[in-house]
């Protein structure tokens, strides 16, 4: 199972939450699979999906899922202690860990080698850390959302990409319709 297949599996569950989606192919794939006003697509700024998601979860009561990647978490490792120490029980950090930098041509990440992101998250103080395989992602995400506990969910899958169009929606339009979905 590759990332786009994981996204296809979890898309129905994501509809129940505000979604902050990582830069590059993950946003393009989610946009193609199931575009929703409640999806915030990052068009730049690698690494900050989890930070934006946490800020959002701390500031309003709706459930928030930040879809991150292993490479993006590695580039903003400081996010994990911040998440651990500022608990938002309406927040799920879902890391799709395919062991590679997918958007730049599948160069390997250290998460695909010796480094366990689940263990790092636990060591940072995150209390509910779950690691599953791609096929279990939808069920694990539903469980995390239903638990009412902040959860870091690491979904392991294969590297690989499909052809997807870029997002041409204006960023201000993405932000404006997302903020309307937040308030609705």
């Amino acid at each position: 199972m590759i990332r786009s297949e994981v996204l296809r599996e979890i898309a129905p569950v994501l509809r129940e939450a505000l979604v902050v989606c990582n830069i590059g192919l993950p946003s393009q794939e989610l946009h193609m699979i199931d575009d929703q006003p409640s999806n915030f697509y990052m068009l730049g700024t690698m690494g900050l999906a989890s930070s934006i998601g946490l800020g959002l979860a701390l500031s309003q009561p709706k459930p928030v899922v930040a879809i991150d990647g292993d490479g993006s978490v590695l580039t903003n490792f400081g996010t994990l202690p911040t998440i651990a120490n500022n608990v938002a029980d309406n927040f799920v950090l879902l890391i799709i860990d395919n062991g590679s930098y997918g958007s730049t041509g599948d160069q390997p990440t250290y998460a695909g080698k010796k480094t366990s992101l689940a263990k790092v998250a636990s060591a940072c103080g995150c209390e509910n850390v779950v690691e599953v395989q791609g096929a279990e992602a939808a069920e694990a995400l539903r469980t995390a959302l239903d638990s009412g506990k902040m959860t870091v969910l690491v979904v392991k899958c294969e590297s690989g990409n499909i052809k997807v169009p870029v997002i041409t929606m204006d960023p201000v339009v993405i932000r404006d319709r997302f903020m309307k979905a937040v308030r609705s």
Binding site: F40, T45, L48, A49, S51, G55, S59, N76, G78, M179
Partner: protein
């Protein structure tokens, strides 16, 4: 009222309810006051670009947000300022300790100080420089301006403003 308390009072009067900070000696009093005021949700960040991400999320969640940081961190925030804060048109007051100015004891701080205004200018970020204590009286208007125009706005506060080290 101390200058630190006045700054935070201005934030609160302008409905700023979420503040992220990275430690700074000059801004220590402001950070303590941010932590002490129940109106403000204070989230310390490990790095300034991370803090700007937190602020973006809080803003979209309906809370006006602000960041407190040093000018030495400007370099690591440029991509975030351009591709997140500016690209999506979000307001962000940046209360910045302007290290490396007059009364600075550490030579290395000057190396970033000489680039600070040039970088902010290059990024088209409206920039205000508090040098005398009375300059702080403009903060209320600067915050109103920031939330009017939906831009990141920099407030540089130097050692003279803070009364030296």
């Amino acid at each position: 009222m101390s200058i630190s308390k006045q700054i935070v009072a201005d934030f609160i009067a302008n409905d700023v309810r979420f503040v992220t900070t990275v430690p700074c000696k000059q801004l220590g009093g402001v950070i303590d006051e941010v932590e002490a005021r129940p109106e403000i949700h204070h989230v310390p960040a490990n790095k300034e670009d991370e803090g700007m991400g937190l602020c973006a999320g809080a803003y979209m969640g309906g809370k006006r947000s602000a960041i407190i940081m040093q000018n030495t961190a400007l370099g690591v925030t440029i991509n975030t300022l351009v591709t997140l804060t500016q690209f999506y048109r979000m307001p962000l007051p940046m209360l910045i300790s302007y290290r490396g100015e007059l009364k600075e004891p550490v030579a290395c701080q000057v190396e970033m100080a000489v680039h600070t205004k040039a970088l902010l200018n290059q990024l088209n970020i409206p920039t205000y420089h508090f040098h005398r204590q009375e300059d702080g009286a403009e903060l209320d208007a600067i915050l109103k301006y920031t939330f009017m125009c939906n831009k990141p706005v920099a407030i540089l506060t130097d050692a003279t403003f803070w009364g030296g080290y």
